[in-house]
Structures are given as C-alpha cells and as structure tokens.
Amino acid sequence: MTHQQSALRERIRQAITTQPQSFSTILSSLLAVQDALGWLPEEAIEEVAAHSGGTVNDVWAVASFYTNFRFTPPGRHVVEVCWGPTCHLKGAQAILDEVQRALGLEHEGDTSDGGVSLKYNTCLGACSQGPVIMVDHAIMGNMTSAHAHEAVARLDKSDGNHASQHGA
C-alpha cells in the first residue's frame, strides 16, 4: 500500500469512528465518509464493510440507493439547482439552462476540467425564496438566470475552496 493509500484509509477510518450519534450503521458510516471526503472511494466501501462486519455487497447495496452518494471525486465547486415544483413554477428550468450553458454541460454532472459538479436537487428547503440554488453549501434565493450565471461564472475562474478537494 502506498503512503497515499494508507493516508486515505486513515481518513476514512477516522470519519467512521468519530460519528456524533450513539450508534453507527452502514448508512451512518457512509454518510460520515461522504462528509469527510465529498465522495465514496472504493476504500470507503471496504472500510465500512470491515467496520460493520458486513460484506462489500451489503455496503454497496446501501451506497447505491441514496442519491447523495458520489463514487467519483466531486469538482472543486458543487452547484445545486432546485427543480422542485415551487422553483419549477418560478423559473428553475430557465436557470438550469443558464447554469448548464455557463458550465458547458448538458445534464447534471461534472465539467470536463473537474472544476464544477452540477447536481439537481428535489427541494433545497427554502421554497419561500424560490427559485433557489446552492453554491458550495451557500444557499441563494430569488434567483434569476442572470444571477445564477454570475454566481457560476465566478466559480470557474476562482480557485477551489470546497471542503472536498480530495482527488482534485
């Protein structure tokens, strides 16, 4: 095992063993790793299996179910656009068009330079301020296409400061 690999495993184990709640499960462990790294490398699946006494299949079954898990490193920046019904009625689709244009994407996914990951969110929870987007965990309401474009275009140029720089 290279030094890098063992350092990664160490971070994963650290995340798994320092969970805040009184018990841990496969799901809680996966969430803890996702929080620490921003994604689930295969080492995470193995470590969670070892920690929970299950098989990699047991762990993969859980990991593949929840749509917030990633299996490749995220971009340095993560942009989430709400496509929930309130935001939909308030123009979310036009905002998605604009954000995709700004990023050169056709769907949700990662830009080719790995700079930005775009994710659609079913409801960001700030419907009263719809339409809503979230850029690197900062929520922004009352969006217009122009504002969204600005928020995203700004990212492209700046350096990444997202917590999950791993693998970037």
Binding site: T25, A63, F69, P85, L96, D97, S128
Partner: protein, 584 residues
C-alpha cells in the same frame, strides 16, 4: 422535583430579562434557511461592521424563522424603553440607513419598519394589525423567530419544559396519554391519524426497549415547516418527545433528519446536548424516576425514507425500502422493538397540550381537525411564509388575506397541496375549509402543509409532469406497479406535452393509476397517481388542448424539461461496473 424546574425557570427568566430589558439594544437576525437564502448572513456581517464603525454597543443574536419569509432578511430590534420592532428586507445595502435611523437615532425608517410588538412607535403599524400575524394562532411555532434556537434558557424563559415538569410531577403516564387523546391531536405527517390512539398501541406493549421516532425527513418539495421548527425552536420538539416517551413507556427518542440539512441537524444536536446538561434528557429527568435518551439520526437522500417503515430501515442503516405491514411498528419496529413514529409538528404541539390542557387545544379548530395547520406558502403568492393558522378558516382566507393573493395582477389558477402525493386544486375549490377531511373530499390533502400557488401562466400538465418526474425519481423500486407505473406515467405525460399524445392516453393513465393504487406496497405507489388524477379532474381543458390542438394553453411546456438522469440504484460510474474487483 418541582423545585428543580422552578430553579431552572427563574435562572432562565433572569437571563432573558437581561437581554430584553438590558441597557443595550438587542438585535435579532433571522438566519434560518429562508433568511440565509435571502442574504441574512451578509446582513448580519454588514450590521456588525456598521455598529463597529459607529462604535455602537449592541447584543446580536441569531434566531430562526418568524414565519414571515417574505420580509427576509428580517431584523428585530429591542431598545431600552422601546417596543420590539421588526424591520423587513434588510439587505446589506440598507444596513447603514437602518443603523442611522434606529440605532443612532430613534425613528425607524418607515420604509423598513414592518411592525412593532408590545407597544407603539408613531408611523409604524402594530404587527398585531397585519393579517399575516393577526390571523395566526402560534402553538407549535410560538417561539419561532423570538428565541435563540441555540440557547435552551430562552426556551425555558418562555415556559419551556413546564409541560414536562407537570407531566412528571403531577401526572401518571396514562393521564398524559389521555390528555393527548382528548386534545384531538391528529398526525401532521400526512395521514392525520389520531396521535393518542397511536401512542396507546405503544403504551400497551410490555417489550423493552421502546422507541419514539420523530420524522423530519420532510422530502415533500414545498414543505419547510418541520425543518423550520427545528431551526427556530428545536426544544419544543425535544420536550414533546420526552413527554411522548413518558406517556408510552419508551426509553429512547430519535430525531430522523435528511443529511445535508445542516441547520436543523446542528441545532437539534446542540439542543439535545443542552437539555442533557440541565438534566432534562438522560437519567432521572428533573429528579423523577423517568429516564429518556435522545439522539439525531441521519438518512441519505431518499424521499421514501420518510415512509414510516422505510424510515426504520434507514435508521438500521439499510436501503430505505418499506416493510410490509403487519406487523405494525408498535409491535415490531426499529431493531424489532416496539416503536412509534410521529411527524415533527405533531410532537411539537405536545408540550403546550400538556401545559395548557387538552380542552384548550381542542377549543381551537373544527370538530374533527383540532388545533392549527402550519401552512408553508410558496410560488405565485405575494407573502410567502410559514403561517400557523387555526383549522376552520377557508383556503380563500388563507390565500387572500394572509398570503396576499397572487402578485402582478394575475389570476390564481391552482393550488398544489400535500406534497407530490397530494393533489392540485382549481380556483373553484378556494372556499374549501381548512380541515383534514374537508380537504380530502375536495380532492387534495393538507398533508405536510405545503401550499404551492400557481397563477394563470401555469399549465397543469407541465406542473403534473414535474410532480410525476419527482415520484418516478424517488420510487424505491421495491414493487413494480410503482417503479414501472411512475415511469410509464411520465412517458405518457411527456408525449402528451410533445404534441404526440394519443386519444386513449387519458384512459391509459387511469389504468396505470389503478394498478399502482392496488398493487403498491406503500403510500408512494398507492397515492402516486393523485397529482395526475386531481389534475385531470380540475384541468381537463389543459389536457384536452395538448391532446387535440397539440399545444400548451400557456406556453409553459414549450421548453426542454430537465430532470435528474441518475437512477436508483445508481447505474453508472459505480463500483459494480468494475468487473476486475476482487475482495481481499
């Protein structure tokens, strides 16, 4: 025992008075998610900078959501010798003007002043006169926007934990249970099941341990009141949960929140820790024989994990796929032990019901819907927000008087209520009374309390496509009528929208819907046809125009519709695609 609570209460009141009647201005800024989305964190920074620049001393607190989301960023100032005054839409740009007019000076800028509470300031209305406030009866949300959700003393200073103290010292568990039953409280998570009856199932079991599970999955788009309560007053939920444990003989309470909702998660965890440090959670609560542990448990992104049996699967760390019932959770629940699942709002009413009595609560609302509804307004509405109103108002009163109607001189076309498994109501149903049963017979459910308003520019088919795409994306996949039915419904809707609808498509959708209703394991599939069915009923014209004239009545459908391409389980980029994987 009562002394212990009295001691806590007098200490808390002392601290509160220090703030409210202290020598310095006390500034509260609403920084729940709605505030943040409107820029409240920037406002907070600008305020601190401006006060520093002008050398003005003030105490600044971050509070949750007052419910008046339309006024965000909302700043609330109490100055010595002045009433509490609320200032609306305080963006960083207007902070200097605000400081000048009301912190350096004594006259709040009338353009910024929303209203006062507890006294008058010339030229500023009383909040009590605004319909957005006057029409409310705030029970579960009584402290929202007033207290710091990060300080348990604020809650105690407002009578917090008096209900628990009363239950533990004056009442036996069956009496507490009876009080909740007599209050007429019904579940606010969707099905409106009587809460006292549900608790009695758990109370009857002799197996231990028993669990109280609080559902804050809140996956319904358009609903934000569960997270709103946790971000504004997590203590009322904690107190309610402990009382539920006492009434039913449970020893543990778990609050189930979706990963990623950082505000509610952090604040609830912190609130539990504070309650524990004061002896309100843990062993021998308030010196009594009763012990109760609490914790926050997270789920990944999955709408169906809010279904009560899927919730238990997720808590056990598995895929959130519903279980067959029976056995019911009260018999075989979390880790096979008896469990009771309630929504955040349901539990948040309990402290006031115990403190003020069942009669008081049952005096609010209608014959079969007691208490209040916590409405989340969003969409084409002038005053979006979170409003707690008594049952019995008409939907028209709520929409027009509180919500201020549709902005921009447009006509109201529809209301989407009860989340994606709820329905759409046309303007003709505005006089329906806010009541679980009246709304159900009108073809929509109150559900979680989300009301999304659509104006005349909305096409019912387009909105329905959005709801069905959600239901399709979120189907857990366990049973085929739901998994394939949703996919098929979406396909049909998309071809109708593309102008390629076939004459038999409406019948086809109804047949799919019937199969889903009878052949699905959980409510997701059983109710998943609701948005289509209610839309077909109220907006047949919209469908007809798409089918016969091949065009959209409002043009809303004339654009590419983006929806997630990810599937559940994830089908690409994942591990199982790796053939070379060998476990070592």
């Amino acid at each position: 025992m009562a002394n212990t609570y009295d001691a806590l209460a007098s200490e808390a009141r002392k601290r509160w008075e220090g703030l409210e009647k202290g020598p310095q201005p006390w500034i509260r800024v609403g920084t729940a998610i709605c505030g943040k989305a409107a820029g409240a964190l920037e406002t907070l920074e600008a305020l601190k900078a401006e006060l520093g620049r002008r050398d003005i001393n003030a105490v600044i607190s971050q509070v949750g959501c007052l419910g008046l989301c339309f006024a965000e960023p909302l700043v609330d100032i109490t100055k010595p010798g002045h009433p509490r005054v609320f200032l609306k839409n305080v963006t960083p740009e207007v902070v200097p003007a605000l400081v000048e007019s009301y912190l350096a000076g004594d006259r709040p800028d009338p353009g910024l002043a929303l209203g006062t509470l507890g006294g008058n300031i010339p030229g500023v209305p009383s909040l009590e006169d605004l319909p957005q406030w006057k029409r409310q009866v705030r029970v579960a949300t009584r402290n929202c926007g007033t207290i710091d959700p990060g300080d348990i003393h604020h809650y105690i200073a407002h009578g917090g934990f008096a209900g628990l103290a009363r239950a533990l010292t004056e009442m036996q568990p069956p009496q507490v249970l009876q009080e909740v039953t007599q209050s007429g409280l019904r579940g606010r998570g969707g099905a409106a099941f009587p809460t006292g009856t549900k608790w009695s199932f758990l109370a009857r079991s002799n197996v231990s341990p028993k669990y109280i599970l609080v559902n804050c999955e809140e996956g319904d788009p358009g609903a934000f009141n569960d997270k709103g309560i946790l971000e504004s007053d997590p203590f009322t939920l904690i107190e309610g949960c402990i009382i539920a444990g006492y009434a039913t003989g449970a020893s543990h309470g778990y609050v189930f929140i979706r990963h990623g909702h950082e505000g509610p998660i952090h604040l609830t965890r912190q609130a539990i820790a504070q309650a524990r440090s004061l002896g309100l959670v843990g062993q021998n609560i308030l010196g009594s024989k009763f012990s109760f542990e609490m914790d926050v448990v997270l789920t990944g992104e999955s709408y169906v994990s809010g279904e009560e049996t899927a919730l238990m699967e997720a808590m056990e760390g598995k895929r959130a796929m519903p279980r067959s019932r029976p056995p019911f959770p009260a018999a075989v629940g979390l880790w096979g032990k008896p469990s009771n699942i309630n929504n955040v709002k349901t539990i948040s009413y309990v402290p006031e019901i115990i403190a003020r009595g069942a009669k008081w609560f049952a005096g609010i609302g209608t014959e079969k819907s007691k208490g209040t509804a916590i409405i989340c307004f969003s969409g084409a509405i002038k005053y979006p927000g979170m409003y707690e109103v008594p049952f019995g108002l008409t939907i028209r009163q709520v929409v027009e008087e509180i919500g201020g109607g549709v902005p921009g001189g447009k006509q109201l076309k529809l209301l989407q209520t009860g989340g994606p498994l709820g329905g759409v109501l046309g303007a003709a149903k505005l006089d329906t009374v806010l009541d679980f049963d009246a709304m159900a017979s009108a073809g929509a459910i109150l559900g979680s309390g989300g009301i999304i308003v659509g104006d005349e520019t909305v096409c019912a088919v387009d909105l329905t496509r959005n709801l069905v795409a959600f239901c399709q994306f979120e189907s857990c996949g366990k049973c085929f009528p739901c998994r394939l039915g949703m996919t098929h419904l979406l396909e049909v809707l998309e071809r109708i929208i593309a102008g390629e609808g076939r004459p038999a498509d409406l019948e086809l959708m109804k047949a799919i819907g019937q199969t889903m209703a009878v052949g699905s394991l959980c409510g997701h599939g059983q109710l998943g046809f609701n948005p289509v069915q209610s839309g077909l009923q109220a907006f047949a014209e919209d469908y007809k125009m798409h089918l016969e004239q091949k065009r959209c009545p409002t043009g809303a459908c004339n654009r590419l519709f983006h929806k997630p391409t990810r599937t559940r389980p994830v089908a690409s980029g994942g591990w199982y695609a790796r053939r070379d994987y060998v476990h070592h």
